[in-house]
């Protein structure tokens, strides 16, 4: 500024020394400090420098008009006044606008960079506020953004009801306040919404002791719109990242499950082949003996009994496989339901085990007058066979297996309990999954891992439920709840076999 003032004084001194009057060629040198003022300080600087130049050169022009009227020289002097004024103001305006555009561009880049970081909304807004305060040259700045049901405030603690920002957030549009109170130069405030797609995402508010021009307000409104869009973009990007992470986790989990399923199926094929081969071998061996040798009738009866048991076992495995196939296709097992008394069915199944195995002591306890259930006799037998077979397999030789039935409210509960090794708590939730075998059970007994899955499918096909309780080293109890016949078929009367 001092240099500009010195230049103005120097030009005036040169014009005075030359004594060239209003048309002195040196008067054009005033353009240098005027342009310098405009380029350095904008429209105000250019205007003030031009005014100073006019004031300094007026004593050379006005006396000419006083003396001789509007001579050609005087007109030249007046035209110079106009040119200085126009050059100063217009150059200053252009410089101001260019500077404003430059700052606006810088601000937009700052907004994009600040909100592109992977940071929380609170941190991003605090950073953005610091960056904008530096570039907008305001005394105070606040940025408020909605985050779900809370307001994130950068530049203050909270938004008071009825405040300028609260009004903008309520949809009041941009608001300019000429004076916020206090003495001296008025303190202006301006608040504008952060908008994206017509939604108000927050507010940008500034305060300055001094002018906030119309141009600056327009710039702030544009910044509000840009911040709104950037916030929305940041929110979408963050959401997309969360989705991507979640998707990757799900894909990994599904892949692990598939791999586990694949391993289980491979194991199942091996086990099932073995399970099928055992009764087949027995059938093949004993039938060859019967065909090739002459045996006493008692021995023939004994071998026939063994063959019958192995054939039943083979049939059960095949039935389980067929049911599993239906389950995996999303179909229910095929049932042929009839009203059925439970006690004889339980006793018949238990008798088979009593005859086939003397390793365990199997007890039965059925409440008298149990209600009839609407069930498929074959399916029920397979359910009981699977449960009793498991109880025998996974409990020590000589221990007791208890089978009971009791009536509950509208249902009948069938319980199969053993005093075996029990099931670990973390495996309880998976025992009904197809092919799943409790990790340490594979070495304890043979099994395909489909028995309980078939039980569950058969029970649910009857409209019942099954659940398992177990305590390690104490035993396991499986409870099947089947709807009683009155509840299952209201008002229906059928014959009981």
């Amino acid at each position: 500024m001092s240099l500009i003032a010195l230049a103005l004084v120097a030009v005036t001194a040169l014009v005075a020394l030359e004594d060239g009057g209003p048309a002195s060629l040196l008067r054009h040198a005033y353009l240098v400090p005027v342009l310098a003022g405009a380029l350095r300080f904008g429209a105000v600087g250019g205007g003030l420098a031009a005014m100073a130049a006019v004031l300094l050169s007026a004593p050379f022009v006005l006396p000419e008009i006083e003396r001789s009227g509007l001579t050609a020289e005087a007109v030249e002097g007046l035209v110079t006044f106009a040119v200085l004024g126009l050059v100063g103001v217009l150059s200053g305006v252009l410089r101001t606008r260019a500077g404003r555009q430059g700052r606006r561009y810088e601000v937009l880049v700052t907004i994009q960079r600040t909100l592109a970081d992977e940071a929380t909304l609170d941190v991003s807004l605090a950073r953005l506020r610091a960056a904008l305060a530096d570039r907008l040259r305001v005394d105070e700045i606040a940025i408020v953004a909605r985050d779900a049901d809370r307001l994130v405030v950068a530049g203050g603690d909270r938004v008071v009801e009825g405040s300028l920002v609260a009004r903008v957030l309520d949809g009041g549009g941009p608001v300019f306040v000429e004076d916020t109170g206090g003495s001296g130069r008025s303190r202006r405030a301006f608040a504008t919404p952060l908008v994206s797609g017509g939604d108000i995402l927050g507010a940008l508010a500034v305060e300055r002791k001094g002018e906030i021009s119309v141009g600056e307000r327009a710039t702030l409104e544009a910044i509000g719109a840009h911040v709104g869009i950037a916030l929305e973009n940041a929110r979408l990007v963050s959401q997309q990242r969360r989705f991507a992470v979640e998707l990757a986790e799900r894909v990994a989990m599904a892949r692990r499950e598939l791999e586990e399923l694949d391993r289980a199926k491979s194991a199942f094929v091996a086990i099932a082949s073995h399970e099928l081969r055992t009764p087949l071998t027995a059938l093949q061996g004993f039938s060859e003996i019967l065909a090739l040798r002459r045996l006493p009738p008692e021995e023939v009866t004994r071998l026939a009994e063994v063959m019958r048991r192995e054939a039943r076992r083979l049939g059960r495995i095949v039935s389980d496989l067929l049911d599993l196939s239906r389950i995996e296709r999303g179909l229910e097992p095929a049932l042929c339901r009839v009203p059925l008394k439970l006690e004889p069915a339980i006793e018949a199944t238990v008798d088979i085990f009593r005859q086939g195995s003397a390793t365990h002591f199997i007890t039965t306890e059925c409440e008298p007058s149990l209600p009839v259930v609407d069930a498929d006799p074959d399916a029920l037998e397979r359910v009981l066979t699977n449960l009793i077979s498991n109880a025998i397999k996974y409990s020590p030789t000589g221990s007791a297996v208890h089978v009971g039935a009791r009536a509950l409210d509208g249902t009948v509960a069938i319980e199969v309990a053993d005093a075996g090794r029990g099931i670990p708590a973390d495996a309880l939730g998976r025992v009904f999954e197809p092919y799943y075998r409790v990790p340490d059970a594979a070495g304890a007994a043979r099994g395909t891992g489909i028995g309980l899955a078939v039980v569950k499918a058969l029970v649910e096909a009857h409209g019942g439920t099954v659940h398992v309780e177990s305590a390690p080293a104490l035993g396991t109890r499986v409870t099947v709840l089947l709807p009683s016949c009155a509840a299952a078929i209201p008002g229906r009367s059928r014959s009981v076999p």
Binding site: L62, V144, S163, R167, V175, A189
Partner: protein, 268 residues
């Protein structure tokens, strides 16, 4: 931050709120009565200047004080002191010293913190005072040079008592009342409603108008144009000084310097 934690209530008061209408009516009635009395020969003609100064500057000063929230008795006292000083100055040149009385009264009010809304009694920086001196000196020198080159007026040093009396009048009445009202009160209020440019334009236009209609200003076209030109510059510059420094003191300094220079001018 005000935008967050203070309730926003849009401004409802008018620009002229708080104007002491009663006191202004009394002053106008007194001036009218004095004019009638002079016309009837009940009062000497020179009483017209005393009444004019008291009523004109008194009205401006009282309005400024009222807008600042000063009590009615204090307003009346200041106007009374102005009238007393005007009377004393009308009786003898050295009586103009009495113009220091209203100035002291205003200084007392400012010291008590009653004129902060006029930006008086608030801290003032040396830079602000220096800027006021610079503006006043710049305009004064330009006035002296252009007046001597275009209007044929020269600096005269042969009427020192009259010049000193005129400067005392500026200190206690002319500059004090004009700066307190047009800058301290009017511009201060206007800038709280409108932009700086609009407020400065309104205050400066009113300031220039006050001098154009002043019966004491010579009515030759050259002088009127010159007065409008310089007063407009002085008014705008003082608005900026108040805006920039947040004190009325720099504007008072620049105006006093300018009018002091103006008082030294005289025809050959």
């Amino acid at each position: 931050m005000w935008v967050l934690d203070q309730p926003y209530i849009p401004r409802a008061d008018r620009l002229s709120a708080g104007t002491p209408l009663m006191l202004l009516t009394v002053l106008a009635a007194g001036a009218a009565a004095a004019v009638v009395a002079i016309e009837l020969g009940a009062l000497p003609a020179r009483a017209l200047r005393i009444v004019g100064v008291t009523a004109g500057h008194g009205a401006l000063l009282a309005s400024a004080l009222a807008w600042a929230g000063v009590s009615a008795p204090s307003q009346a006292l200041t106007v009374a002191l102005l009238g007393l000083a005007s009377t004393a100055a009308g009786l003898a040149p050295f009586g103009a010293v009495a113009y220091l009385l209203p100035a002291l009264c205003v200084i007392r009010l400012a010291a008590r913190g009653q004129l902060t809304s006029l930006s008086l009694g608030t801290p003032v920086s040396p830079r602000g005072v220096f800027a006021g001196i610079l503006v006043g000196a710049g305009l004064s020198s330009h006035l002296l040079i252009s007046a001597s080159r275009t209007l044929g007026m020269q600096v005269r040093v042969d009427h020192v008592p009259e010049v000193l009396a005129a400067i005392a009048y500026d200190v206690g009445a002319n500059v004090l009342a004009a700066e307190c009202f047009f800058r301290g009160a009017l511009f201060n209020r206007a800038q709280r409603r409108w932009s700086f440019a609009t407020a400065a334009t309104v205050a400066t236009a009113a300031y220039v108008l006050r001098y154009v209609v002043d019966p004491l200003l010579p009515k030759s076209a050259g002088l009127v144009v010159g007065a409008v030109f310089y007063l407009a510059l002085l008014g705008a510059a003082n608005c900026w000084l108040l805006w920039w420094s947040e004190s009325l003191v720099p504007g008072l300094v620049s105006a006093l310097l300018f009018f002091a220079a103006y008082r030294t001018l005289g025809s050959e």
